[in-house]
Each structure stands twice: as C-alpha cells, then as structure tokens.
C-alpha cells in the first residue's frame, strides 16, 4: 500500500530506457520512503518484461497482457491505470515525458483529480508548510522543473491528492541496476476487470516507428552547433570533427528551429540531456534552456566569435574565433598527435 508506481513503456517487447531510468529513481525514492517499488506493464506477450525490470529493484510487477493493449492507445491504458491506482492507492506515480506518457499522464490525473507535473528534471522527498492552513506536510514528492522557457526552476508539490504524479524526459535521470539477482513478484491482471470493450475505440491504421539513429545520450564526446553556425552546410564541419574524434553531433534549439539539424539532435530542456566527457559548443550562445541540458558535461569547450557569449562562463576552455577557422585546425592537430 502507498507504494511508488512506474508505468513501463514497451516497444517490441523491450522496456524503454526512460522507464528504466524512472525505475532507478523510483527505487531510490522507495528506499527513502521505506515502501515498495511497483511497475505496470500493459501490452501483449509480456513474458520477458520481468527479467528486464527486476534488476532495477522492482518489488511488484503488474502485467496486463492483452493483444488489444498493443500498440498503445489512450483510453484502455488510462482505464487500466485509473482502476489499478484506485485499488492500490500509490503515493507516487511516475511515467516518461514521451509521446505516450504525455498522452496518458494528464488523462489519468484528470480522472483521479491528482496533480501532475510534466517534464521534471529532479525528484526529491521533503516537507511543505501550507502557511494559510497552518499545516505541515512531510514526505512529499518535490517535483522540480524548469518553467517560463527555462528561466526559472519551480518546485511543485501535491499536498493533498494522491498519487503525486510526475513525468520525466528520457536521459534526465540516470539508469542503474540495483541488483542483478533482485527478486520481485509478478501479478497478472485480469484485463477485462480493468478495461471495457468500449475503450478500444481508436484504431491504429498505420504505425512506423524508427530506431533513433542519433545516440547523444551515450556519446562520450559531443560537438554541438548553435544558431551561430549560420547554415546547415557549416554543420558539415561538426560532422567531420565528430567523425575524427568518435563523437556525435548535437544542436541547440535555435539551430534546430532554423533547420540546420534534425530535432533528434536537440540538446537542452526540450531536447536531450547529456553528460559527456567532452562537450564542444560551436557558435552556441548558451540560452539557459540549452545549458540546463549539458552543464554536467565533464569538460566544456566553447568556440565562439563572440567573447561574451553566455556559454563561455561555464566553459573550461573558451576559444575566441570562428568555427571555420578553429575546427579544421583541431582536426589537423588531432590527426598529427594521436596514434
């Protein structure tokens, strides 16, 4: 009772990274709250889900296995969670801030009248004092998220409503196995008790899912271009450097909006959060939204013709110069000095 629930996103029988990251965070919170970590999988042919999630410290895995639950559609998954949450009364429910989680989360929160905070960048446990009501709440979930285009960070709490719901983007939390031998229980749900036939009213006619070609999250070296790159052609320089160093190319939101790079390369609050060994920012001015998604990089080099670009304040090395001049030199001297 009053446990922590994580909704699992499943594609082709594989639990998504975002869900594993949430399980990792959920496990920490469960330890802190001395409660259980529970996971819900809704889909078809879910026999292999347990082996994927138990190592993350899942105590109970609920399986709703029904051909009609895959691919995801809104109403059946909503009905399942709403009914299950009414029965189990979780204190916290987490899901990915993905196209599924952001479709499902608000629906469930609306049905249960429970608060939901989208795109949290940090989750902590703490107390809250409602001064007007003269009431102190302990052990609440702090749902911490940027607001106002990233200019402020807000800590949100749900004092009275349960579950306290939050979504988190992929890559924001770290993924860490708790114990490869961790043993949890599996509970199979009788789907017809949770979902009505009428809930299956959306028909998925076509579906093309692509595996992401860009792997920013796991790259040790990231070369990012900003609006200052000027054109998609100039981005080629970045790909050249990335090829030579064995890195990946990222982009700021402004560069993506200008069409210099694809959306999946976007780094920052509305894109991917990265923590590489080396981050080279090229023509990136350093909007707060961008910095929030890369500030944990071990080493940051900024190449910018503007010596006062905001990103320079958080860079370890600031190279004042043009990208066209500096990058070919970096390639040249890397080739010369590496074995």
């Amino acid at each position: 009772m009053n446990n922590i629930f994580v909704y699992l996103e499943i594609e082709d029988g594989i639990v998504g990274d975002v869900s594993l990251e949430l399980l990792t965070k959920g496990r920490q919170l469960a330890d802190q709250q001395q409660c259980k970590l529970e996971a819900v999988a809704a889909g078809y042919q879910l026999d292999k889900i347990g082996a994927q999630v138990f190592p993350y410290g899942v105590d109970t895995l609920y399986l709703a296995d029904d051909k009609r639950l895959s691919p995801y559609t809104t109403l059946p998954h909503t009905a399942l969670l709403v009914t299950l949450f009414r029965e189990e009364k979780p204190q916290i429910a987490l899901m990915g801030a993905t196209s599924i989680g952001r479709d499902l989360g608000p629906r469930v929160s609306s049905a249960l009248f429970s608060g939901l905070t989208a795109d949290c960048t940090s989750l902590e446990i703490g107390s809250y004092e409602d001064k007007k009501a003269g009431k102190v709440y302990n052990d609440l979930l702090y749902q911490i998220r940027p607001a106002f285009g990233g200019n402020i960070v807000a800590t949100i709490v749900n004092p009275d409503c349960r579950p306290q719901m939050a979504t988190v983007r992929e890559g924001v939390m770290k993924k860490e196995i708790r114990d490869p031998e961790y043993k949890g229980k599996t509970k199979k749900l009788e789907v017809s008790k949770y979902v009505k036939d009428e809930d299956f009213i959306i028909e998925v006619i076509e579906r093309h899912m692509e595996k992401s070609k860009v792997n920013l999250k796991n790259s040790h070296i990231i070369i990012t271009g900003g609006y200052g790159m000027g054109s998609a052609e100039n981005f080629k320089l970045l790909y050249d450097l990335a090829n030579v160093l064995g890195g990946e190319v990222g982009a700021s939101r402004a560069a993506v909006d200008a069409g210099f790079a694809e959306h999946e390369r976007q780094i920052g609050q509305t894109g991917v959060t990265v923590r590489p060994k080396l981050y080279i920012a090229c023509g990136v001015s350093g909007q707060i939204q961008h910095i929030a998604g890369m500030q944990e990089s071990a080493m940051i080099i900024s190449i910018n013709s503007d010596p006062h670009a905001p990103i320079n304040t958080i860079a370890d090395y600031v190279i004042t110069g043009t990208v066209e001049e500096v990058i070919p030199k970096m390639i040249k001297y890397y080739k010369k000095n590496s074995k």
Partner: protein
C-alpha cells in the same frame, strides 16, 4: 446541422524571446517585459480547424480562451484569420488555476457552447510546456483524444482520421466523433490575417473592453461583441475552480543561476589549438 468546431487557444508570454530584463532582481518573472502572443501551436490548431471548415462547408469555428480581459485579442486574431467567433472565459474565480482547474473550467464552457463535434487545441503552450490541458479536458468531457496530430486526413461518417507525429515515428489513427485533437507544431502553419476580415473585426470587443474604451461604438456597423463568460455563466462547483481546484502547489521558485567556471581563454592560433589537443589526448578526454 452544421459541424461545430471549438478551438482552445491561449494567450502566452513570449518565452522564446526572453531578454535580460525578463526576470526581476527578486527572481520573479517580469511579465511586462514579455510580449503576449498567440500560443504558437494553437495557431497550428486553428489552421486545421479552418481547413476542415472550408472542406465541410456547413461548419463553424469558435475559439475558446481563458485568461484576463486582454486575452480577447486571441479571439480577434482568430477572426482575422477566418474563425467565426469565440468566447472569453475570464474572472478572478479562475485565478491561480493549474492545468487541472483550467481543464475543469474549459470543459464546463464547452458544455455551455452546446453541440460540439470536434475540439482542437495546440499540443502545449510555451509558458508551461506541459501538454496536459488537452487530454485533461477530454477526460472531463468523457471524450476520446488524439494527441500529437500533424494532419487531419479525413473526416467522414462520424469518424476522424489523423496522422500523428510522435518522437520516434508516425501513426495514422481513426476514431469516432466527438473527439479532442491536439496539434503539433510540425503541422501546417496558420494562414495569415485576411485583410477584409481584419478590417471587419478590428473593433470586435468583449464587453469589458467596450466599457474600458473611450470610443463610442454604438451604431457602428462592424461592431461585433465577443461573449465574455465568468464563473457564474458556466455550470460549476466552486471547489474545482482556481486555486482550490488545483492540486499542484508551487512550493518555491528559483532564478536559474549557473556556477561560472574559471575558463582558460584561447585564441584560434595554431600553437594554442595544438597545445589544447595535446592536453586533451594526454588526459584521455579524446583519443
């Protein structure tokens, strides 16, 4: 019977163009420094609605917005682009609403509008980026939803077919009307203002705007009054509106401050770049 479309739109501070004066010294947002704009994805939604209207013929497009009196601008802007009219939901009872309280109020207003076949909104607003209000309204109305819509492909025999743009793919889905659809920024951009409509509706005002205005519009041929509803005009229970209807509370707001590092300053000179590369190789950052 005509096909009735309601577009949910929001007036938002333009958080994409935040200058240095957007934040006050105490860390709060200086709203005065941020221009109020039509939420970008709501314009994509309006375009989908207007396309349907011209395709169906016998259809109406009404825009529903909740906000302060100045949000009547959203209705006017929509009419300049081809919407038939709209409703402004405004009043102090709505102040402090989080997404859930907002969706409760919007759902009540939609019920008051009456027969609605399709509700279209932007996926999310740029001041919160939550993408919650659309699905929460759908749940409150007991309607199905299609989020992340990029194009409405077909509307026939009481069903709607929509192409959705997801993070990692594309889906085509079909479902029954009435339906709530939320539209992605990747959808077609909204048509520009129509010159004739802009002239026709530039004096369209809500009642409170008319009262605040010094010009006497009585007898003006082109005057169009934008209906303005307060809490008393919609069927509601007070506990679900505004602050009391908002389960989420803001505990704390902090200005974002990044710790500045002591940076080494380099020029693009060959010797400096080579020294840097050698250092990165030596400490195993690269290579």
């Amino acid at each position: 019977m005509s096909f009735n479309i309601v577009v949910l739109a929001k007036q938002v501070p333009d958080t994409r163009n935040v200058g240095k004066d957007a934040m006050k010294a105490d860390g709060t947002v200086n709203r005065a420094a941020l221009p109020a704009i039509y939420n970008p994805e709501d314009l994509n939604a309006l375009e989908q609605a207007l396309r349907l209207k011209s395709k169906i013929g016998d259809a109406t497009v009404q825009v529903l917005t909740m906000g302060p009196a100045r949000a009547a601008e959203i209705i006017r802007e929509s009419m300049y682009r081809g919407a038939d009219g709209g409703f402004l939901l405004s009043g102090r009872e709505f102040a402090g609403s989080d997404t859930l309280a907002t969706s409760y109020a919007l759902a009540a207003a939609i019920r008051k509008i009456g027969k609605v076949d399709l509700i279209i909104s932007g996926r999310q607003a740029i001041d919160g980026d939550t993408a919650q209000v659309g699905p929460q309204v759908a749940e409150k109305l007991g309607l199905p939803q299609i989020t992340y819509a990029e194009e409405i492909l077909d509307l026939s025999n009481g069903t709607i077919t929509v192409r959705r743009r997801l993070e990692r793919g594309v889906e085509v889905v079909k479902g029954p009307l009435p339906m709530v659809v939320t539209v992605n920024g990747s959808a077609a951009p909204c048509r520009p203002r129509h010159a004739k409509l802009t002239l026709k509706y530039k004096n369209a005002m809500s009642v409170s705007e008319q009262q605040a205005s010094s010009t006497d519009y009585t007898g003006n041929y082109h005057t169009f009054t934008i209906p303005e509803w307060g809490a008393a005009d919609i069927e509601h229970e007070a506990q679900w509106l505004g602050l009391s209807g908002s389960p989420t509370k803001v505990k704390q707001i902090e200005n974002v401050v990044f710790t500045a590092k002591e940076s080494k300053q380099l020029t693009g000179a060959d010797t400096e770049i080579e020294a840097l590369i050698k250092e990165l190789i030596a400490n195993h950052t690269i290579g």
